[in-house]
Symmetry: C2
Subunit: 339 residues, 2 copies
Amino acid sequence: MLEDRRLEVLRAIVEDFVLTNEPVGSKALAERHNLRVSPATVRNDMAALEEGGYITQPHTSAGRVPTDKGYRLFVDRLSSVKPLSPAERRAIQSFLEGAIDLDDVVRRSVRLLAQLTRQVAVVQYPSLSRSSVRHIEIVSLTPARLLLVMITDTGRVEQRICEVVATADDQIVADLRSVLGSALHGRRLVDVPATIADLPETVRLELRPYVTTVAAALLEALVERPEERLALAGTANLTRSALDFTDTLRPVLEALEEQVILLKLLGEASDPGMVTVRIGHENDVDALHTASVVATGYGRTGAALGGMGVLGPTRMDYPGTMAAVYAVARYVGDLLGAD
Amino acid sequence: MLEDRRLEVLRAIVEDFVLTNEPVGSKALAERHNLRVSPATVRNDMAALEEGGYITQPHTSAGRVPTDKGYRLFVDRLSSVKPLSPAERRAIQSFLEGAIDLDDVVRRSVRLLAQLTRQVAVVQYPSLSRSSVRHIEIVSLTPARLLLVMITDTGRVEQRICEVVATADDQIVADLRSVLGSALHGRRLVDVPATIADLPETVRLELRPYVTTVAAALLEALVERPEERLALAGTANLTRSALDFTDTLRPVLEALEEQVILLKLLGEASDPGMVTVRIGHENDVDALHTASVVATGYGRTGAALGGMGVLGPTRMDYPGTMAAVYAVARYVGDLLGAD
DNA sequence: GCTGGCACTCCGCATCCGTGAGTGCCAAGT
DNA sequence: ACTTGGCACTCACGGATGCGGAGTGCCAGC
């Protein structure tokens, strides 16, 4: 009973603080939420919560503010999923359905997410390593220069130019195409290196050097570029919450320019259907110690195509944000999965 | 003689203000730059310059600050081109030479530009409309679904999925490929619509519906997407100069998310070898009235592949920025032109 | 037309309350 | 064992005040 009320107080603090961005005091709390107890009682509970490290006061005799730990408890135990309104769902659907290709899907998703949450949104392109080869094309640009184009089942197109030692005539290019095509078609990208390793030995002698070179180029493309692509939107939303420049905003903007960091944020949360939240110091990147990340994966359960999520101040509407991220990820997953 | 000194004073004001970000007064000016006249004289000149609208004072009895008009005069008549140091040139070259493909070139350029200028950098991908077709590929995904891939001479790859009414067997796909390939190979993209308009009539009856559909899809891809791609970097640099949030930074960040706006900024300055500067209110976008844009085109003179540039506060090191933009554009142009 | 001198303006900074919101603690009530 | 009202205390915030200094405009003299 007592414990229950304390949690209720914490929830009230979080909700009020998220709403007003001002430290919340005992009196206002007792009034606005019908806690049916006096401010004095609330004060006692607050003292206990502060003792436990869930809230803190910016300075003596100011209201209380949730700590990272407080938000964590809120997210884990106190927040109920806030379903989107039918209007929102329809908006998502219709907005995404207008997309004409993969690029467009990703760009639309990221903008949508940024608008819905009023935060910074990040969407990862379908991961190469998790998709498989739909088609391989080889085009000769000049006799000694080949262009390899690889198309994945998610619609991603990767290209790479490759120099061959001797000139390759049309027959050779055609042969190369068929050799690679039949060897790789349908393979998952992670399996490609193993598959092409001993490919040269299986072809006639004349073709061997070409296959070797092309295989090497392909390998290089796959290794040198586990580089996943990302789309970003809504950075302007950062100005909504950040209060000072050099301490808060700059480091975050800098972090957002680092693909590696962003990928890390998304990567650890890649299970579709499961929205993960990382709050403040739970982010191991220093620059993001005052930020929270709400992320999930999209695609088939157990085999995510990529991740998406939003980043905002710890003071954030978690239920709403989580709902939005979840919903968009689902739609995008359906859209790309159906292909 | 008199006129000369006034200009010299203006230059000194601009240089000092860019350096210190503080209104500059007559005394400091007379000391730091060897003008060989007394502060009082400088004051007279300043009064004249203010009269002419080149400088202004934030409040009575503060130093002077250049106006947009003042910067304009400075850029047009007072700034000498500041050549990059050999070290910088080498850095640019080696940094760009590591690029492995078009995407990489663009990404590297934009980061490089942001670092060199410490501003926000924008680079446009080689414009579709100005490049020509190197190769067209058609892949059948499912019998009724074709994937069109178009590769341009700048290395850009555009793709589009296309549904055909009846199923297309391998023979048909091969025919389609050869018809389109021979019709379009080497054509400039702007000429493609005209070329494919009457293509259906030239092929055997059986093939006609397919050609019609595919041609329509291609057209759609070209029309619906004059959409040029852009890369952006260095937004964190905005925090260096902007002083308040909602009035300065937010609108700029918002503007930066609008492709259309960015393209406009670059588009008007697309002549390679010619660096254009747009200062403050010369930008017709309201949000950028306190910003300056330094831009140029890259590629062959008279036939630019795309634009690139940086955006920063009007209080900016114009000579240095212009030199950097110019240099990077040249290298990128060479790199892509050589292909 | 340049220069020194002088009075003037006004920003920035520090200082100084007064106010009020909010707290912690305690003693009394249930 | 909780809850409650009362009370003294703390401290950020905002407005008022005062001061120093940088910078200006103007004028008279060189």
